[in-house]
């Protein structure tokens, strides 16, 4: 081996470059792993760590028999990571499109959306997730997974569905796309239903997938409670079927039917026309979403006569046999001539019982005059008019009942027949229910209890007495008088159910169109209960502007529906007829209504 094969200088130069390079690399490593470490670690944490919300499952809404009215079903949101897609999966795309119910082009387009350019057009970002479809059922998702297309996967979420569709729509309400409870039980029981979301600290990989092995602290979600309603789906069904029949027959602007238990105030069914399907609330007309039973007011007409009649009886001013001269067109009152309203028929003298049964306007006016402004107003207030019923749904209006100092000269004769007053269907229904409930006004309620996932009762909503309006005896007396309405000679024999004591009251009012009472637009109603001596059900049927050739009397448009529903419910609920007490037993005893005479000052 000879000395100096190569130049020492040149070899040293090469070595120097190599040493310097390795030295530089070592220095860089120390810099990164020691001096910049803290900063880099915080960057890493930011990229990896994430707090994920664990969504609580919303509670169910059930009817009184446990049938589901609203339920949150787990569904799958299916999407694709366009960067994981393989060419060999392409033949499967039409199958996928078919399963998802999408056009093939849309699926192909999603599979090829690999990058997105920011709004300023400067940055191009990779797209790792393109949503294909929302709300895919668990079964369909399984089928999709069987296709084995790489990059296609789903995220589980909950979707609110309403198995009944439009059934009890105004009661149940709905949750919108943003998960906000918009109306009905959904909204007013939201506190119980929504549950409490949990969270979890987790780490993700570069694609955003969770790394289960690195889970940190977590708080599990608490699922929402179930709400059990007093609504009975079957009753609700009957009511809605009857409502549809009314709509088919009369094509009204609106209609409301309410069925409740007078003793508790629990609503068994409540239906309005027009209504909507809860599952497609987003396409429904906003007017159809209104719960007219509590948001709309109308002039109740004759149904309001129960106020004046009960008041006069309760105060002992009259008894059922007390007669009034109904041929008079005006009476002298406080030194002035007070005009009395007319009736459709001419009557001579009528007893209180006949005034109620035949629904005499003039008779009611007599009762009003007898009572005087203050007592009439106080009883109207006591029956719940001019104030919210406390039915726990938003949008309820108080109606219109002017205080005495705002009355004009006609009010004293018009108010007793249900004019110059605005009421909601729920108010008049509650007032009638108070008569049926021995004179005690109950708060109408739709929620029975709150239960947890295991069926344990969390809270119960007991019946709430609002107040006693009239004495028990007065109420019984009134119930008896109201039976006369459905008897032959009364205004609504069409509401009579053979074998049952049916008590009720018709109402027919002209609608005010362009500031004048219209002759062709009416609101016809019938509100009644049975069996009169031990009432089980109160049913209100209120039909706004039924289209028919003559006057849409409550007796012709509403009373038959009352009967139809009543007959079905007698069967369904097994209501037994109560033997009618001998005629006159209630009407006869004059001492019966002296007890609470001084209660109303």
């Amino acid at each position: 081996m000879q000395k100096g094969l190569v130049s020492v200088f040149r070899l040293a130069l090469v070595c120097l470059v190599v040493f310097a390079s390795f030295g530089g690399i070592a220095a860089r490593l120390v810099h990164l792993q020691v001096f910049e470490r803290d900063e880099l670690v915080s960057e890493v944490e930011r990229a990896r760590k994430r707090v994920r919300i664990l969504h609580a499952r919303r509670g169910e809404i059930r009817d009184s028999n446990g049938n589901l009215l609203a339920v949150s079903r787990p569904v799958v949101q299916v999407g694709v990571d366009p960067h994981s897609v393989r060419v060999e999966d392409e033949p499967m795309l039409p199958h996928l499109a078919e399963l998802l119910g999408l056009p093939v082009e849309k699926v192909v387009e999603a599979f090829n959306r690999k990058t997105v350019t920011s709004s300023d057009g400067r940055r191009v970002r990779q797209v790792r997730w393109v949503k294909l479809a929302d709300g895919v059922s668990e079964e369909t998702y399984e089928d999709i997974m069987l296709l084995g297309i790489k990059g296609v996967y789903g995220n589980r979420q909950y979707r609110r569905t309403y198995p009944g569709g439009s059934l009890a729509a105004h009661i149940i309400g709905y949750i919108n796309r943003e998960n906000t409870a918009v109306m009905g039980v959904e909204r007013y029981m939201d506190f119980y239903l929504r549950g409490q979301d949990g969270w979890r600290e987790q780490e993700r990989d570069g694609r955003g997938g969770e790394l289960a092995q690195f889970r940190g602290r977590e708080i599990l979600p608490r699922d929402g409670y179930h709400v059990v309603l007093s609504i009975d789906s079957v009753v609700q069904h009957y009511v809605e079927a009857e409502l549809r029949r009314i709509v088919d027959k009369f094509d009204p602007v609106g209609a409301t039917i309410i069925v409740s238990d007078p003793k508790t105030g629990y609503i068994l069914a409540l239906a309005n026309h027009p209504t909507f399907d809860l599952n497609s609330y987003n396409t429904a007309d906003i007017a159809s979403q209104r719960n007219r039973a509590i948001t709309d007011i109308y002039e109740p007409g004759s149904t309001f006569k129960i106020v004046a009649a009960s008041a006069a009886l309760d105060l002992g001013l009259v008894n059922p046999q007390t007669t009034f001269d109904c041929s008079l067109e005006a009476v002298s009152r406080r030194g002035r001539l007070q005009r009395l309203p007319g009736d459709t028929h001419h009557y001579e003298s009528l007893t209180v019982a006949e005034i109620v049964a035949k629904s005499s306007n003039r008779g009611a006016a007599h009762l009003g005059i007898l009572l005087g402004e203050n007592r009439l107003y106080q009883y109207a207030r006591a029956f719940g008019f001019g104030q919210e019923t406390g039915f726990a749904f938003g949008g309820e209006v108080a109606g219109i009942l002017h205080p005495v100092d705002k009355w004009d000269g006609l009010t004293i004769t018009r108010l007793p027949m249900g004019h110059a007053v605005g009421v909601t269907p729920m108010q008049i229904h509650s007032a009638m229910a108070a008569i049926a409930n021995d004179g005690v006004l109950m708060r109408p309620q739709v929620s029975r209890r709150i239960i947890d996932r295991d069926g344990n009762i969390v809270a119960e909503f007991q019946p709430i007495e609002r107040r006693r309006v009239v004495s028990r005896e007065t109420a019984r007396e009134m119930a008896h008088l109201l039976m006369g309405v459905c008897a032959p000679g009364g205004t609504a024999p069409k509401a009579a159910i053979p074998g049952f004591e049916v008590a009720g009251k018709t109402g027919t009012t002209q609608k005010i169109i362009d500031g004048r009472y219209s002759r062709s637009h009416h609101v016809g109603s019938f509100i009644g209960f049975f069996p009169a001596s031990d009432p089980r059900l109160v049913i209100s049927v209120i039909i706004d502007d039924a289209r028919l050739s003559g006057t849409a009397y409550g007796s012709t448009v509403a009373a038959p529906s009352f009967k139809a529903i009543g007959e079905k419910l007698i069967q369904y609920l097994g209501i037994s007829p109560v033997a009618a007490p001998p005629v006159g037993s209630l009407a006869g005893g004059p001492d019966n209504f002296s007890l609470n005479r001084d209660r109303i000052r």
Partner: protein, 400 residues
Amino acid sequence: MSRSRKSREARANAPRGESTVAARFHQLVNPASLILVCAIGLTLLGLTVLFSASQSYQSDPYFYVRKQITWLGVALLVGFLAARVNLEKLRALTWWFVAIALLGLVAVAIPGVGVEVNGSRRWLDIGIGRLQVSEFAKLVMVFGLAHYLSANLSRIRTFWRGFALPLAGVGVFCLLILLEPDFGTAMLTGAVGTTMMLLAGVRLLYLVPSVLAGAGLLSLAIYLDPVRLARITSFLDVEANRSDGAYQLWQAILAFGAGGVEGVGIGNGRQQMAFLPEAHTDFIFAIVGEELGLTFTLAVVIAFLLIFLAGILHLRRAPNLFQFLLVAGSLLLLTLQAIINLGVVTGLLPTKGMSLPFISYGGSNLLLMAMIVGLMINTQTAWSRPVLRDSERGLKEVAI
């Protein structure tokens, strides 16, 4: 270093021919065996980290490790052959090798023959796997250049035979590799070729301007190519371009930071979980950084440095210029590749595809490295012991 010095002292003290303990010691502790030890250590580290780094790629966690171990078996065989072959006899076949290598590089470029991956055509399919032709072409270039330069030693300072012709030869290799395209390997090949010419004694007057001109051309090429230019500019400001251009590099740098001094532990690294692309090949060093920390990253750097130093020390016993240049060139192939990879992964150099010798996943490069280590062992036994006087020891030794 201290070990080789000790062995030298041992040899110096022992009378020649009298090869008892000292000779045995020398047989075991020599530059080639140091290189072998480093190579084995790096390979084992590579397999370990590869297992962790490739977890999230395939459903079978052993997929890459199994393939790499298969390649390792082939590599051991190839290395054994390289350690046994007579280099002087092989030298007679130089031009055959060059012809085959060039043919292979051309074949790769033909559609249908070469296998295309990610837009580059670099591979030939040979039954058990894909072979990256340029890996072997690099070594053939070193072999051919060593042969030519040593054969033309007397004309080494002339322009044509001493400078232009060898440069053109290197250029042909570079150009063919560049066309694949494989920018990184082409640059590496060019750098090793010119360094060998520098060592052989080509006039600096020719060499320096041509290197500068090459660098100029390179800059121009990058400037004109928007993709490459974007790479360079994003490299210069990694943090600003972390979401697109420099995403991969940024993720690698995060991995080093996450690892710190001690590392997060084998199997606990998370940058390979779809954050860091190519975590099992070109960017595997970042996973070493995250899982094993500064201790191992520095150990890797030191191991490569030791291989280089042992090789340089080994060179002083080269019997002729051909073998000197062959070993030096091979050593540079290994060392420069390591430097470029480490530089890229740590963000010191702009990103280009270059695997880390012994550690990255990939069969072709492993075979090449096995050949180079085999060559070291081959020359260790083949080269006679140097006759050196004590007075000649010192820094000079290195250059002899």
